[in-house]
């Protein structure tokens, strides 16, 4: 599904590149953890896949198409197929929880009826049914994070990109959500999660790609650490 080919990312005005000559391939239906210390380049990879950034070197293929060569409309289509959980949530301040989640469906052109059905379902999955009408400023950190997850999963995306989706969640909630991602994955969605939650990574025993200082360190099935 995705092929990252020798990709480097050098943010303008910085010294060393945030990502250096990284190459991985990802098949449809895979479940991948991106791990590595703070500043290793995990979010950079996620942003590159989301086409929020363009690589300074190398290519990224999505279903065999170079995403750097996307036309305007293809970028939209690309993002519509992806369920993205942003590290900084990126909720719309002026919209309620319900409206934030609903927006992802509105963009896809779902009918109001479908929206009325799917949004509560998604909120229920992340345990936020009771906060439907709250605005982001009225939520706790973990609640915000869960709204972001609900917005990503509500549209049954082909690919989920989740950047640190459990950083503000307690152990039980985090585990539940990881299991939710796994369940969605089992239903066919490809999942990429950048995370520091070593306990969950260890527990899930999925494919782990470890970065350090922008370089690929490890790519194998297993736990958070190399043993």
């Amino acid at each position: 599904m995705i092929k990252i080919n020798n990709v480097s990312m050098h943010y303008p005005g910085t010294g060393e590149p945030a990502l250096e000559e990284m190459s991985i391939e990802l098949n449809p239906g895979e479940f991948l953890f991106l791990v590595g210390p703070s500043g290793a380049g995990k979010s950079t990879v996620i942003k590159l896949l989301f086409r929020e950034l363009l690589p300074t070197k190398g290519q990224i293929y999505f279903e065999d198409k170079d995403i750097a060569a996307y036309k305007k409309d293809e970028i939209l289509q690309h993002r519509r197929r992806i369920g993205m959980v942003f590290q900084d949530y990126k909720l719309i301040k002026q919209k309620t929880v319900f409206e934030n989640v609903a927006f992802a469906l509105e963009v896809l052109g779902h009918s109001p009826k479908e929206i009325q059905k799917k949004v509560p379902e998604a909120l229920q999955k992340v345990g936020l049914s009771h906060k439907e009408k709250a605005f982001p400023r009225e939520l706790s950190g973990g609640e915000l994070q869960r709204v972001g997850i609900a917005r990503a999963i509500v549209k049954n995306p082909d690919l989920i990109l989740a950047d640190e989706p459990t950083g503000n969640l307690d152990r039980d909630n985090a585990l539940q959500l990881m299991e939710l991602f796994e369940k969605i994955n089992r239903e066919g969605t490809t999942v990429v999660i950048a995370t520091h939650a070593w306990d969950l990574v260890d527990r899930m025993q999925k494919r782990v790609v470890a970065l350090a200082g922008g370089k690929l360190e490890r790519d194998e099935k297993g736990g958070y650490d190399h043993e």
């Binding site: 989301f50 289509q77 993002r79 519509r80 301040k93 002026q94 963009v107 052109g109 109001p112």
Partner: protein, 294 residues
């Protein structure tokens, strides 16, 4: 976009307006002020114009007649000329009396009455347009019955020159103020959009098309522009109505009659409304452009 897009967009517009109510009201108010200044200036312009026009039209052509001609015949010919608004016959006797009166003593020139009166008969011709003064004078001058025509060429020329200068000045100022108002309105909207740039970026990341994101901003701009415009036109209309009625009640001030015919006022008010509304919509539209590039 599909069949629900319009519905979602409209809901979005009204939601944004009510949730950013404070910002929306402030924006509308600022648009209103800009338009009131522009509109006030335009009203001032058409009134100054009218005033000068009245001044100029007051210039009369004095037609001195040869002795013993048929006055009625001459009057008929003058009446049929283009640009003639009216005429008054002043017989030589009346002329003498007038002159005496200006000298402060009606009996001053008593000796000249009757047969001794050296003055010619006179027709004072009023014209409709100041530009007609010279043309009418020239035409009438050619009549055999006419001894002489006089109308203060110098004064008319001077007035015409002042008029054309003032007109140029007012048009220039008007255009500048209009441009200023457009600049203000567009940028007021732009500032109000700055506060919401994050929202635009998130929408873009959700895969919303530029049109889909823009449309609510555009309609919000239209609504704010429309509100501000209606406020401006209302204020201008009420104040102007008060002013004109105050001026008109006073019959002494004959020279300065404010413009009240709808024919000339309507274009100004309509123009303001269209401009304010469109500029605000347009302002919203272009203001988010730079946040759409993600």
């Amino acid at each position: 976009m599909n069949r629900y897009a319009f519905r979602y967009s409209m809901r979005q517009s009204f939601q944004s307006l009510s949730r950013n109510a404070w910002l929306a009201i402030l924006t509308s108010g600022m648009i209103a002020i800009s338009l009131i200044i522009l509109g006030g200036f335009l009203l001032l312009t058409i009134n100054v114009n009218q005033f000068i026009h009245t001044l100029e039209s007051n210039v009369e052509v004095s037609v001195f007649l040869e002795e013993g001609v048929n006055v009625g015949e001459v009057e008929d010919r003058i009446r049929n000329l283009e640009g003639v608004a009216g005429q008054t016959f002043v017989s030589k006797e009346e002329g003498l009396e007038d002159f005496s009166r200006t000298m402060g003593d009606p009996t001053l020139l008593r000796d000249l009455e009757g047969e001794n009166n050296p003055l010619p008969d006179l027709i004072r011709v009023q014209v409709t347009e100041p530009e007609q003064v010279a043309i009418v004078a020239e035409t009438v001058q050619a009549y055999p019955e006419v001894e002489l025509v006089d109308y203060g060429e110098e004064l008319v020329a001077r007035l015409m020159q002042i008029t054309s200068r003032l007109n140029a000045l007012f048009v220039t100022l008007g255009v500048l103020i209009a441009l200023g108002a457009v600049f203000l309105i567009v940028n007021i909207i732009r500032l109000s959009v700055v506060a919401r740039q994050e929202e635009v970026v998130v929408m873009k990341y959700m895969g919303a098309s530029n049109g889909y994101i823009r449309f609510p901003f555009f309609t919000e701009g239209l609504v704010m522009g429309w509100t501000g415009t209606v406020a401006a036109v209302t204020v201008l209309g009420v104040v102007y109505a008060q002013l004109t009625s105050a001026f008109r009640q006073d019959s002494l001030i004959l020279l300065f009659q404010p413009v009240t015919d709808l024919e000339r006022l309507l274009p100004i008010f309509l123009g303001l409304m269209i401009m304010g509304t469109l500029m605000a919509g347009f302002g919203s539209f272009v203001s988010i452009r730079k946040y759409l590039r993600v």
